[in-house]
């Protein structure tokens, strides 16, 4: 099976800031969950935008086997339009693609049920809690049934209990349609819990410091955080992070 998306020797330079990322090569296979971990400013979010096709690489090549409508992104903040109801926000990607309004609304309602927000479709984003807003954002990403789902530090602003619940929810949602997921985080435990493969980046401009595979079933069984395989993966990622920071410092 051909990869869902791939970066090949890409580099990104920002005017006035110099090199932000690379050289970097990364392949995302269909249905796998990859975590991008690295220190702040290493270019993880830039790598994500390259994979999503939202930004061009300065050098190197970006391959994407998925069409525009088959990629979804969840940003750091919920990024919901405050003037629209939650349901309208979720229906937006479909309506932009020309899906008739009624059908879009029906599918949005389904997506809201999927993320456990059946009751709040008519609420405005300002009336939702942080966790609920993030769920609505997730529903908006899932409504198009993407083959590639990007999560850019999606739970960074939430409390620990909410992040853990959401991590399990994302894994369960993944198991239904099995899109490829790439998510950016600087939380080592979160990466070890959610990803089948963790790619560690060095301090900016980010290169690959190393890769850790987590050989355990997805979604995670209860009590996974107490298992040796989880602890070993987290340790390995931490070691790579430390090495990657030293390499440049």
């Amino acid at each position: 099976m051909s990869p869902t998306a791939a970066l090949q020797d890409v580099e990104v330079d920002y005017r006035g800031r110099g090199r932000a990322l690379g050289p970097l090569s990364l392949t995302i296979e269909a249905g796998e969950i990859v975590a991008l971990v690295g220190p702040s400013g290493c270019g993880k979010s830039t790598a994500l935008r390259l994979l999503a096709g939202l930004e061009p690489a300065t050098r190197g090549q970006v391959h994407r086997a998925v069409g525009r409508g088959e990629t979804s992104v969840v940003f750091q903040a919920p990024t919901l339009a405050p003037w629209m109801s939650a349901a309208a926000n979720v229906a937006l990607p479909l309506e932009l693609a020309g899906t008739p309004r009624l059908e879009a609304r029906a599918r949005a309602a389904e997506a809201l049920v999927q993320v456990g927000l059946a009751e709040v479709g008519e609420s405005r984003p300002a009336q939702l809690s942080g966790g609920m807003a993030m769920r609505a954002s997730l529903a908006r990403a899932l409504v198009t049934r993407p083959r590639l789902l990007m999560l850019d530090e999606p739970f960074a602003a939430l409390d620990e209990i909410t992040r853990r619940t959401l991590a399990d929810d994302v894994l369960h949602l993944w198991s239904e349609t099995r899109p490829a997921i790439v998510f950016v985080t600087h939380n080592v435990e979160e990466a070890a819990y959610m990803a089948s493969r963790i790619v560690v980046l060095t301090r900016g401009p980010g290169r690959i410091a190393g890769e850790v595979r987590v050989d355990a079933p997805l979604p995670r069984p209860p009590g996974f955080r107490a298992k040796p395989v989880f602890a070993e993966a987290a340790e390995a990622v931490s070691a790579l992070l430390a090495a990657g920071s030293e390499a440049v410092a």
Partner: protein, 255 residues
């Protein structure tokens, strides 16, 4: 209890100042044409009410018509400019130049162009001129205020330019537009008054003309009465718009 005191404080201050003014006038015996006591101003206001109220309405209606015209023009131009960065770069310097030119200085020219036969049109035109800019620049800023990640989302789903404007930029601009309308309304009243002064001939009988006319006749009490009506009108319009803005924002934000 505290709330009552808070509400009464400004009224108490006004009463105190009026009392001081009244006493000072009586003690010093300053001539009424120079500074009439507040009691005389009140009498002038009461007896002139039948003139002052229509005059106030005259000025207010000019300002409101000007506000509607200015809002329409500003919104249309802002949308055009918002669609084309090149057009914006072309328009900006011209717009700022017009904005910083005092309306009093432009008034005589406008009066010649449109005011010879229809002085009331010239007054409206001048009020439009001053009300236009806050609405225009507010809308232009607002059109660019959308969350960059939401813009990326529209990129991601391949939104057309029209979809982007109608479904993202225009709704995102609403709070800025409301702020612009509030400022613009205040300026429209100022513009109308300044334009009436400039027109000066009595062709337009608003509050400013009342002040001018009373001044020519050295009826200082009538001047001050008209001034007070103008201030009350300004405060009322401002308070009304503030409330409208707050309601609008609550509707926009859903909370």
């Amino acid at each position: 209890m505290n709330r009552v005191v808070d509400a009464l404080a400004p009224a108490a201050l006004i009463l105190l100042l009026l009392a001081g003014w009244e006493v000072a006038c009586r003690l010093t015996g300053v001539p009424a044409y120079f500074l009439p006591p507040p009691s005389k101003v009140m009498l002038a206001a009461a007896s002139g009410l039948t003139v002052l109220v229509p005059a106030a309405w005259n000025t207010l209606s000019v300002a409101l018509v000007a506000l509607v015209l200015a809002a329409g023009a500003a919104l249309a131009l802002a949308l055009l400019v918002g669609l084309s960065p090149l057009l914006e770069r072309a328009v900006r310097p011209l717009a700022s130049a017009l904005q910083v030119t005092p309306v009093v200085a432009v008034a005589p020219l406008i009066l010649i162009w449109v005011g010879i036969d229809h002085p009331e049109r010239a007054v409206i035109a001048l009020a439009v001129l001053v009300a236009f800019f806050p609405i225009f620049s507010g809308t232009v800023t607002g059109l660019r205020s959308a969350d960059p990640d939401l813009e990326r989302l529209f990129d991601l789903y391949g939104a057309s330019r029209l979809q982007r404007v109608l479904r993202l930029r225009l709704p995102a601009a609403v709070p800025f537009l409301m702020e612009g309308l509030k400022v613009g309304a205040g300026l429209a009243i100022i513009g109308a008054v300044v334009a009436e002064f400039a027109a000066g001939s009595g062709g337009v009988r608003g509050l400013a003309w009342q002040i001018l006319d009373a001044g020519n006749k050295l009826q200082t009490d009538r001047m001050i009465a008209a001034l007070v009506v103008l201030a009350v009108m300004g405060v009322a319009v401002h308070a009304g718009l503030e409330r409208l803005e707050r309601t609008g924002l609550r509707w926009w934000r859903g909370r």
